[in-house]
Every structure is written in C-alpha cells, then in structure tokens.
Symmetry: C2
Subunit: 155 residues, 2 copies
C-alpha cells in the first residue's frame, strides 16, 4: 500500500534530552513543563483551544530507531507485542500523550505533564473530551498485574 506523508506542524520543547531520563508517561511527571512551538502558518487553527484544560498530542518518535514487533515495556520485566505496549519502537513510530494546557500565547502553547523528548516533531493537536476519550470499565492485562506486583514489592 502507498506511503502516507505528513509534515510536522511544530516542535515540542521539553527539559528531556535523553531517552533514559524522560518520564515514562505524563501521569508520572505531574510537575514537568514544556512548550509547543506551532509553526506560525498553523496558528489560526488554535482558535478556541484555550477553552480546554487537556490536549492529546500526536507526534513522531524521532529517536525511536529500528522497529521491533516484540519489546520490553518500561513497567514490566517480560517482552510483549508492540501493539500491547506503549514503547516507541513501533512500525510507525507515532507517540500519543495527554498533556495539560497551561497557557496560549500566539503560536506558543505552554504545557504540563510532558513526557516527550526535546525537539519532538508534532503532527497533530486534539482537544481532550471526556465523553469521547474516557472509558470507565477497562481491562488492562499485564499492566494491572505489573502495577499490583510493584505495590506488593514496595510494601
């Protein structure tokens, strides 16, 4: 099938320049902050965005390296299929994060709960809408087991 070509709409700036010291997820780094530099030609698309407290960012894992279909997640000891984990060595290295929108100033968006590397190319911004995005009763296999085990080991 044909290739799909996207162009970055901006750059995500964060304090993290090294994969090993970047938060695993934004929820584990509530105080981390950074900013989006949206390329000025896209700034008209920001109208009304300041009304939202949280955003989805879709971005390119620019330092992902080669794809691996089986990989070890950060939060467990055993390898899993890449589509059952959030690790970055994906066939299409696309990242997805919920961030907190702190401030909009022209084409600059200050954000919190960031978990991406500095210089990450941004592909899309979507408003986080609880009705669309929250599912209350979810089963989450290995992740739940790993979390339970971690609680037990830390007692």
């Amino acid at each position: 099938m044909n290739e799909i070509i996207y162009k970055p709409i901006g750059i995500i700036h964060t304090p993290y320049t090294d994969k090993n010291s970047t938060p695993i997820q934004g929820c584990f780094a509530p105080d981390s902050t950074g900013y989006i530099e949206l390329f000025p030609e896209y700034a008209p698309g920001l109208q009304n965005i300041e009304e939202f407290s949280h955003l989805f960012l879709i971005y390119h894992f620019h330092q992902a390296g080669c794809a691996q279909l089986i990989a070890k997640p950060f939060l467990d000891k055993e390898k899993k299929g890449i589509f059952a984990i959030r690790y970055f060595t994906r066939p299409n290295p696309i990242g997805l994060s919920v961030v907190k929108l702190l401030r909009v100033n022209g084409n600059i968006l200050d954000i919190g709960e960031v978990d991406m590397l500095d210089g990450t190319p941004l592909l899309d911004i979507k408003p986080y809408v609880s009705k669309f995005d929250i599912r209350d009763c979810v089963t989450q296999g290995w992740y739940s087991r790993a979390t339970e085990r971690a609680k037990y080991e830390n007692q």
Copy 2:
C-alpha cells in the same frame, strides 16, 4: 522541515461507506462493530493484546480532502480552530479513536464502538491504560456549552 513517511499496518473494515452516516464518535455508537485486518507481517506485534478491553487506534483520514484551519465541528453551529475540534480536515489528517476489543483471531481483530469509514488505513494500535489516558478534572469549553444547550433544546 522534512516529511515524515508512514506505511499502513492494516485496514479498518466497518459498516460505514459514507461520511455523513458514520458515527461522530464511538461513544455515540456503542453497538457498532467492525474489524481490523492487520497485515500478516505485523501479527507478531499482537502478542498480549487480548488482555486489553480497549485500544487506541491511530489512522489516516483517507477521505478528508483539503486541510482547513477553521472548520465547523459536528456538535456545534459555529466554526472553531481545527486543533480545538476533532473534525477530519486537519493539516495532517490523523484520526484517533478508542475502540472496544472483542476478539483476536490471528491477524484479525474484531472491534466495537467503531466510528471510522470502511477501508481506513491503520497506522498504529496502542493499549488503552486508564492511568495513562484518563484525566478526571477536565475543562472542555465549547463542547460542554454545546452539550448543555442540546439538553435544554431537547427538553
């Protein structure tokens, strides 16, 4: 900046062949079902996925047409910036949906709560993890106002 090139990892099959009769979001179509045909070379990446009840699908809006930075969302009467709505005419026409995972059979995943067109090229699958993906206290500007207004008008 350089172009980013992705390749579809599969195709999403749904009952919807026309944009106008496709659900706005999966949450509004709890009984809708479809399936993912993952290209066989990616099937090893599905290991452990059956442990999750919900997945994020990231896909290409293949019938989006030209990008518009200002557009009218389905659920309101006035136009907004494209990054404050979920409409498909985005600079990079990337779709994001939470779906229910019903069954895995080799490289075929039966899914529920689908809201995409039949034949949609799939770019990534990620497990839905409540700790990573749920934010409890969110502000959602125009969406909340439109929802409130709809309730009032329907009384």
